[in-house]
């Protein structure tokens, strides 16, 4: 953790760690470790709690601006106090539990959902020295924590004993399970190339510069781009966001498995969705966008956590942008899209990565051949599967009555 003092590291870079050492250096050993992790937990909750609040406001402002209306601007200047107002409203709402609901499960569902989505923040490297827990199998930890969200969604749907919630719980499970596979398959190439499961290792693998200025992020390789796109689409589905927000499809089953929740528990679900979205974007930044590395060598002086934040914010804006534009998919189209389009593409991507890593040493004309073969291996299956998936779906031309 205490990497050697390499040159050119600015004071700002080491500021968070210095602050932490200042607070806990005088404690004896077991207590010092305990205090350090406590500070890390408080920091994560504070930063991502505020990010959650800002995200709800940003979502409503951006959606508003896209729809030619200003968005919330009544509470505070430019509506900045809106999240606080929402929070107070939600927390002061009566917490209704249906009489014949399964009270224990009804309470446990939002708690487990929120707990598992917060646990996921433990392994994401936010900066050069800012990683809460240094795990050897960090990426595997991240996705096994993600797997427990299905359990919580099922408990929510089942415990409400309500026809709509039951239907929605079944749908949510089908969606989560069918998008777990592409999610896992999409980051396997990254592990194959960087040779390690630990996130710091992966970020280190992307630290070199090619031709002096281009960063060797995984997203700039053909298989990396394909993996990144599949990862983001699967992340959209995992966090129940726009084209896949089927469980709470308000136009069909009211609020899906959230129908029987109100007040604080509803906020937990809401918060869990946003935390899940942020965690998945954080992992996408770590795996494909070079974690906390700066895009250009000349910009190295800006502290690493600022770069991580900037990339995270752009990805989240992408989520909101997609939500503002696309209609929703039906449940059978959604699962068919996963099994018949994303999974095959991810498997082919494994092959492309294998070819890419084997042909590592090629230079000159061979390098050009290597790139073109990789691009072909990515694009051709995409076009073929795409045509088969949307067979017959074309904008039509119309004739006129005589």
């Amino acid at each position: 953790m205490n990497a050697a003092q390499d040159t050119g590291e600015t004071l700002l870079e080491r500021a968070p760690q210095a602050l932490r050492d200042l607070l806990t250096s005088h404690l004896p050993e077991p207590w010092r470790w305990f205090a350090n992790s406590l500070i890390a937990i408080v920091a994560i909750l504070a930063v991502f709690g505020l990010l959650f609040a800002a995200l709800t406001l940003a979502e409503r402002k951006i959606l508003g601006r896209v729809q030619n209306r200003p968005g919330p601007n009544r509470t505070g200047p430019f509506g900045l106090l809106q999240p606080i107002a929402d929070g107070i409203k939600m927390l002061s709402k009566e917490d209704i539990v249906p009489r014949d609901a399964d009270h224990l499960l009804h309470f446990l569902a939002p708690v487990t959902l929120l707990a598992s989505s917060i646990l996921a923040f433990a392994v994401i490297p936010y900066g050069r020295h800012l990683i809460p827990v240094e795990l050897d199998a960090a990426v595997l930890y991240f996705f096994c924590v993600g797997a427990t969200t299905e359990l919580a969604v099922f408990m929510a749907g089942w415990s409400s004993h309500n026809k709509y919630s039951l239907l929605a719980a079944m749908r949510a499970l089908a969606q989560l399970i069918s998008y777990e596979l592409p999610l896992l398959l999409s980051w396997l190439p990254v592990v194959m190339i960087s040779g390690t499961l630990s996130t710091t290792g992966i970020v280190a693998a992307q630290s070199a510069w090619r031709w002096g200025w281009m960063p060797t992020w995984h997203v700039f390789t053909p298989w990396g781009l394909a993996g990144f796109v599949i990862f983001m689409v699967a992340a959209l589905a995992e966090s129940n966001r726009s084209p896949f927000d089927l469980p709470e499809a308000e136009s069909e089953l009211i609020a899906g498995h959230l129908t029987e929740y109100s007040g604080c528990k509803y906020v937990f679900f809401f918060m869990a969705e946003y935390f899940g979205m942020t965690a998945l974007s954080g992992m996408a930044v770590t795996l494909f966008l070079g974690g906390w590395h700066a895009p250009l060598p000349s910009l190295e002086f800006i502290p690493s956590y600022v770069w991580f934040g900037a990339k995270l914010i752009t990805l989240l804006m992408g989520f909101i942008w997609i939500r503002a534009t696309f209609p929703r998919l039906r449940i059978d189209q959604l699962t068919r899209f996963a099994w018949k389009f994303l999974v095959p593409l991810a498997l082919v991507n494994l092959g492309t990565t294998a070819f890419w890593s084997l042909s590592f040493g090629w230079t000159g004309p061979l390098l050009a051949a290597r790139c073109t073969v990789a691009v072909i291996l990515v694009v051709v299956p995409f076009v073929l599967l795409g045509r088969r998936l949307s067979s017959g779906l074309t904008p039509r031309t119309y004739s006129y009555a005589p």
């Binding site: 601006r65 896209v66 030619n68 209306r69 200003p70 942008w321 997609i322 503002a324 534009t325 045509r387």
Partner: protein
């Protein structure tokens, strides 16, 4: 190729997002309490009774309680009781005036048929739209006091229509006066010939046009 339609959609939303910052056409919200949207002149909401002058709006109502509007109103929300005595109106003629003139604004649907059928231009449509009340019954039963508004107010909210109505009314009054003067002249001429045969029947009183 799969996805081109989706990218086009994203491009349009991005254009609108950027446009909403500089292009007034793409940010059409009027933020109500601070800025109010412009009401066109033809806007109609809830009738009011036109009175000649502003000092005594109740006294100088144009309405002569002919109850045509009460009969013609589709939801029947107007209730008129004629007065027993008569009162001189603007042109000095003795007219009945409405003792009770009530409109139930919770039933009225602003269809302005009463304005169309009123032969005396006594009832016109208002421009008021901030009329929320805390109580469902009494305050919505508008009486003569709430309904009567001066002609100057009518000019203020509907300049063109008010000018046209006033032009017509003054023309009618002038015509009525000439006829009255002509009738008076004819009567004077008859009185001037003392031994004329039995005077012709007095000309019909100049009835209201």
């Amino acid at each position: 190729m799969l996805g081109t339609g989706l990218l086009q959609g994203l491009a349009v939303t991005a254009k609108n997002f950027a446009g909403s910052f500089h292009d007034p056409k793409r940010l059409t919200t009027v933020e109500y309490p601070e800025k109010k949207s412009v009401i066109p002149e033809a806007f109609r909401n809830f009738p009011f009774l036109v009175s000649e002058n502003a000092e005594d709006p109740m006294g100088t109502l144009r309405c002569v309680a002919c109850q045509i509007c009460e009969k013609e109103c589709p939801p029947q929300c107007i209730y008129i009781e004629k007065s027993k005595d008569k009162k001189p109106d603007a042109s000095g003629k003795m007219q009945i005036y409405p003792a009770v003139f009530r409109i139930d604004s919770s039933v009225c649907m602003n269809c302005q048929i009463c304005v169309e059928v009123c032969p005396f231009d006594a009832i016109k449509m208002d421009h008021v739209y901030e009329i929320a009340t805390s109580e469902r019954f009494e305050t919505l039963l508008l009486d003569r006091h709430d309904l009567a508004k001066p002609n100057s107010y009518f000019h203020q909210i509907r300049p063109l229509e008010a000018a046209e109505v006033d032009g017509r009314l003054t023309a009618e009054r002038k015509a009525a006066e000439e006829k009255a003067k002509a009738a008076a002249l004819a009567k004077a001429a008859l009185a001037a010939k003392p031994a004329a045969p039995a005077p012709a029947a007095p000309p019909k009183p100049p009835e209201q046009a």
